[in-house]
Structure formats: C-alpha cells, structure tokens
C-alpha cells in the first residue's frame, strides 16, 4: 500500500545512534518481555541433559555439568522478536553451536530443535554455524531464568527470537527441512528480521 499515510500520525523517530540496528517494523525496549505458548517447564538440573543426534557421525549427550565444562563464550548481541520488540546489547554466556557440531559431525543440512513442553523450531545448518548460534545458559551474568528459557536455550540472534528455542533439550540433524511449531502455524520458515520475514509469504 505504497504512499498510504495515516492521518495525524507522527510517531517517534528512532534514536539515530541505534537506528541502523533496528530492523523494519521493530521498536526498542529496555524490558525483556516473555512470550511462550504454554506453561514454563521446570526441570531439575540433576536429571537434565542436552543432546545432538539424527544425521550425524557421532550422536552426543551432555549432562548439565558436562555442558558447562565445554568451552563457553560471553557475547553481546541484539535480539528481535516477531511481536515487534527489539532489545539491544544483551549479554549472554553459552556454548557455540560450532563447538557442539564439531563433536558430532553433522551429515544432514537442517536442524530441528526439540524442547521441554513440546516446542520445536527448524533452521538450516548454515544459520547456526559460523559463530551465529549458541546454547545459552546465562543472561546478564546470571543463570538463565526459567521464563526466559532456562536452564538453557538456543540463541540465534540474527533471526526472529522464536527460532531461539527456550528449554532446548535436543538438536536433531535432518536431511530435509522440517517446519516446526510456529512455522506450521503461519509464521515464516526462516524469519530474517532485516527482510521482515514474519509470516508465510513475507
């Protein structure tokens, strides 16, 4: 609807210092809103584990202590939720997927994340390799709170946040792309915020 103007709307221009970091249709929030489709799962760490399997050379599973013993990174990224908020300069700690995938040697080209509570999301391997994705277990220097996905969540900050699956427990490497929970409910299959890929057909 090119050229349409909403009568009387002026809006707030973005702070020029950060305007280039805010994708189209997003606004910056200082808060950390919580979104999920059902109750927050709460699991005891002594029974918790995380695994990568499927189309791989060596499926692996790590206990909480084993995951924490893997080389970790502390990184600062901007995150973008499809519900329109973006949050800048968020600080996380976790294990790079490059580290995990090197240990299992994937042979498939796609990954499906499986979570406590039944949530799933799908990604091409190239979106989670090359320093672009982590299994994060700390936020802002503190253990990741359950409502934000703790004990551990996938974090893929260059895509809309529904791809950064909370309460992740398994990464399944597959040969063919397999749309996940929101991807089969009308949301975009890839979700690049800079291309505003919110919904099917965007």
């Amino acid at each position: 609807m090119a050229g349409f103007v909403t009568r009387g709307f002026r809006g707030r221009r973005r702070d020029p210092d950060v305007a280039g970091r805010v994708p189209p249709g997003q606004y910056v929030t200082p808060d950390f809103p919580v979104l999920s489709a059902g109750p927050t799962p709460r699991v005891a760490l002594d029974g918790w584990d995380f695994g990568v399997g499927g189309e791989v050379e060596r499926a692996q599973r790590w206990s909480w202590e084993e995951l924490r013993a893997l080389p970790s990174e502390t990184f600062t990224v901007d995150i973008h939720c499809v519900t329109k908020w973006s949050k800048l300069d968020t600080v996380w700690e976790g294990v790079s997927l490059d580290t995990l995938l090197e240990l299992v040697e994937p042979t498939g080209d796609y990954v499906v994340a499986h979570c406590d509570g039944g949530y799933t999301t799908n990604l091409p391997l190239e979106d989670v390799t090359g320093g672009k994705a982590w299994i994060a277990y700390a936020y802002d220097g503190e253990p990741l709170a359950p409502e934000h996905g703790g004990p551990a969540r996938l974090l893929v900050p260059h895509l809309y946040l529904w791809k950064s699956a909370k309460w992740v427990r398994r990464l399944e490497i597959v040969d063919d792309d397999r749309p996940g929970f929101w991807e089969t409910l009308g949301y975009h299959n890839r979700g690049d915020p800079w291309l505003e890929q919110r919904y099917h057909g965007d």
Binding site: M1, T6, G8, F9, G25, P33, L35, A37, G186
Partner: protein
C-alpha cells in the same frame, strides 16, 4: 488443529474506523470496516501499521475482540503510558480514518465452539480481549460449552466489558464469570479481593479430570503464576495455552 489451513500470504489491508467505544478510562474498542477481511478464529490477533507523512512507520500487534460472526473487526486497545502507538489510536484516531492492518495471525491460542468445552478462561487486565472473542463466539455460534472465566482487574472501573459479561452470564447459566479486584473494591463487593493464586484456581477451575481447554492471557507475572499453579493442580500442561503482554511496547 485449528489454524493449520493452507498458508496464505498476509497482505496489508486498509481498515476504516466505523466506531470508537470507550470501555474503561484506559481502554477503547475500535470498530473497523475491513472490506476484504478473510475471517479469523477467536483468540487471533492482527498487526497494525501506522505511516507518518515522511514515510516513518510503526507496527504493533492487537488482539481481536470480535467473534468471526461479526461483520466488523473490533480491536480493544489499552493505553500504554508514554507509548508511541496506543495514545495515537485512543486520542487521535477518529471515525472515518483509515489505517493499515494485516491478519489474522496466530493459530495456537484459538478456540472454536465445535471443539466443545469445558472452557476455562483466565485473564488479567486487557488479557480479557482475545478471551472475549471466544466468549462472544460461543454465544454467536449458539454453542453450549460450559465456560468459566476468572478475570483479574485492578479496580471496578477497570473491568473491561463489565456490562456485557454480566448480560451474557444472565443469558446462560453455563457461562460463569468470577471477578477478582486486586487494588480496591466497592463497599458491597462480593468477589475475590486478591491476585489470582493457586487456592483461587482450585476453587474456580474445572477439575483436571474434566479436561478443560484452558486459555490464560495477561501480564507475564499473572500468566507465569497461573500456568504454574494449574500444572501443580494437575492440569495437563499441553491443554494450558498462554498469551502474554509484556510491560513494554506502546
């Protein structure tokens, strides 16, 4: 599952304001004519896009308050203090104005009369809006699902749809609305006077054995607390669907 129909491209459509109805001091229902509206399920939302003269755009999501049976689309918008979009919608937008919207969006937090009941709807503040679409649909579709609504508001005048909820419960005793007022109560108040807690849910909710469809919508602390309490009371987490309003936005 509802909403898993063939993916359809969501295009921006022009919607014209047909009416504007004050619900509470801080919320207004905006009634739109949307000529090519494709229909929706109760519980779904739309994206609204506003464009300034210089091309600057802002987008926000709003829950649909009207049932699918209603020929007009109703969005009930709550004022976010110092917000960018909601003060414009509430203070500036007039009948006859147009804006762009697209939808419907969201195929999970939905209920249709054909799915039956019982239905447990738990709302905090403007979280009642998508649940109201379900309640209105239940009547518009002449459904017979038993419905219990537990609705938390700050004060009596903050209760959105207060008269309509009272009217609807008077029409059919299978629909019950239980209010709690957390901040202040009228002198003759008969309802609850505290935040929703596990004890209140145990009194109000259908027993887990009845396998109710549960929808919870409101601010994050309410949704987190209610969903956790329902799980502790024995409800199947897979039947508890949540939608949350963060404190931010506007």
């Amino acid at each position: 599952m509802a909403g898993t129909a063939v993916p359809r491209r969501l295009t921006w459509q022009l919607a014209e304001v047909a009416a504007s109805n004050l619900e509470t001091p801080e919320t207004t229902s905006l009634v739109f004519d949307v000529p090519d509206w494709p229909g929706h399920l109760p519980g779904q939302h739309v994206d609204v896009r506003l464009t300034a003269e210089d091309g600057y755009q802002a987008q926000r999501s709003y829950s649909i308050a009207s049932p699918p049976e209603n020929p007009r689309l109703v969005l009930t918008v709550e004022r976010v203090k110092d917000g960018e979009v909601s003060p414009f919608l509430l203070d500036e937008l007039r009948v006859g104005d147009r804006l762009e919207l697209r939808g419907p969006i969201g195929g999970y937090f939905t209920w249709e009369a054909a799915r039956g009941g019982p239905l447990l709807l738990v709302a905090g503040g403007s979280g009642i809006v998508p649940l109201m679409a379900m309640i209105r649909h239940r009547f518009a579709a002449s459904g017979d699902a038993p419905v219990r609504v537990l609705y938390s508001s700050r004060t009596f005048i903050d209760v959105i749809y207060r008269d309509e909820l009272a009217y609807l419960t008077g029409l059919d005793s299978a629909v019950e609305v239980i209010h709690t007022l957390t901040r202040a109560q009228p002198a003759d108040w008969q309802g609850y006077r505290r935040r929703i807690d596990k004890e209140m849910l145990a009194e109000v909710a259908w027993p887990p054995a009845d396998r109710p469809h549960v929808f919870v919508c409101g601010p994050t602390p309410l949704v987190e607390g209610v969903a956790a309490a329902l799980t502790e009371l024995g409800h199947d987490p897979a039947r508890v669907k949540t939608e949350r309003f963060g404190p931010s936005g506007g």
